[in-house]
Symmetry: C2
Subunit: 266 residues, 2 copies
């Protein structure tokens, strides 16, 4: 409610407004009228697509012949999209033609060109919209590597996400984002629902037939020393690359040579 | 398109029309006008709820202090809802106060009173709507046993379903519906995507922390003898109750005494 006067002021100053909330600007008659008068755009990112424009899954995603890697998370607000952005930059620096698929409104705001808003999509069309976004990207720019943003968390009971990406996106592998310093799921805090051990999340991905390529750690709540120790121990325990993207970049996260054998530089 | 004249005729004869399709009757002006004239109802079961009426998951589902069992499937169109209906009847016959939660339009049409249309619900609200339906049912009738209809299939790439029920419904267990005579997923047939071994589906449910209580077999495509042999072998291999609901009922599917220790009859 306190937002409305600010929005009116912004529109009055001639600014377009991009809205990432589940509440829509187009439903507010006074804002719509003002926007028309000032000739500015109101963009409701989470407004549902029309029924007719939603796509069903057909398996055509397999025609996108590039490496496809999803970034999934053990909890929400964990840094999945940031790790994806860092990976994209690292891959491009190596000369790998890389694109990203957004699945949330922030990815769109960051300028990622292909994707869809997963949480606003009717459940029965999630796999099809995911496939469609991948195909749009493939058809437009023929990347070698496609990074796909995961949403929510594998097992957060307020809204799990993972199965669709693991089953419907023709993935080559998964990067798993984890916050060792967080004990309970981000959901009503009084519930104190423990985040399961990382090993069991890796096992869940494998139970779907997925391949975990590496683990990205968010150091929130841990000292640099504690994070470093955790990283070492985890790497030994899982026998997988484990990295701290914000502290050391993501270059160690993928076996680039194995995934893109043609690379000579880098 | 061929349906429209039939619908017009039905409305003209004074019949209400219940529509389970993703295409809505309320969008067809001529039908709406005719329905108004005749005073009949047009019900679009899959029409999305208004944004404001959708619920977020809060954990309140734990307040529904009854046994909660979901029926999940290894493929779509496998008999999940039918097994649930048979289980409901069997439980009621034993004197267990049992209710059901529908998650698809057919369950609503069959007269199940609480539920929601999972495939038409925006992904971010599936867990909350599921919780809300369970709480509505609990508040209204305080059942001892609540059976929850699964949608789609655990790993059909055209639209997997399972995680929300396993994580957000405070389940006590899962019944898994399976068709041993079907080799490939029901999806574009030319894709020939094999249905994974049943053991790996049980393992997936367990990877979510779920408990498989029993397996219900749909005999489609198998001779009675082949189905019987499969049942025997599976039961030995999994050490779980396995039954053929259509051939022998579902009474053997649950350890009723263990789940409802107070039962004396039955």
């Amino acid at each position: 409610a306190g937002l409305l006067p600010m929005l009116e002021q912004a529109i009055d100053m001639g600014m377009d407004v991009v809205n990432g909330l589940h509440e829509y600007l187009r439903d507010k008659a006074e804002l719509v009228a003002l926007a028309q008068k000032r000739g500015v755009q109101l963009i409701d990112l989470r407004y549902p697509k029309s029924q007719r424009s939603l796509r069903c899954w057909t398996g055509a995603v397999r025609q996108a012949r590039c490496r496809k890697i999803a970034v999934l998370g053990t909890d929400i607000i964990a840094g999945k999209r940031t790790s994806m952005q860092l990976l994209c930059a690292a891959a491009r620096k190596r000369g790998i033609h890389t694109e990203m698929i957004y699945t949330g409104q922030t990815g769109w705001m960051q300028g990622i060109r292909h994707g869809f808003i997963l949480d606003a999509t009717p459940n029965g069309y999630v796999s099809g919209e995911l496939e469609g976004a991948i195909l749009n990207c493939w058809n437009e720019s023929r990347p070698e590597l496609l990074l796909i943003e995961g949403q929510a968390a594998l097992r957060n009971p307020s809204g799990p996400c993972g199965a669709e990406l693991l089953l419907s996106a023709d993935l080559d592998g998964v990067l798993l984002q984890h916050l060792p310093g967080r004990q309970y799921y981000q959901v009503c805090p009084s519930l104190r629902i423990p985040i399961p051990p990382l090993e069991s999340e890796v096992a869940l991905i494998r139970a779907y037939g997925g391949r975990v390529l590496g683990i990205a750690l968010n150091g929130q709540g841990l000292s640099p020393e504690a994070l470093g120790r955790y990283q070492q121990q985890l790497q030994q325990r899982l026998q997988l690359p484990v990295c701290r993207p914000l502290e050391e970049g993501v270059d160690a996260l993928l076996d680039w040579q194995q995934l893109f054998g043609h690379i000579e530089k880098g």
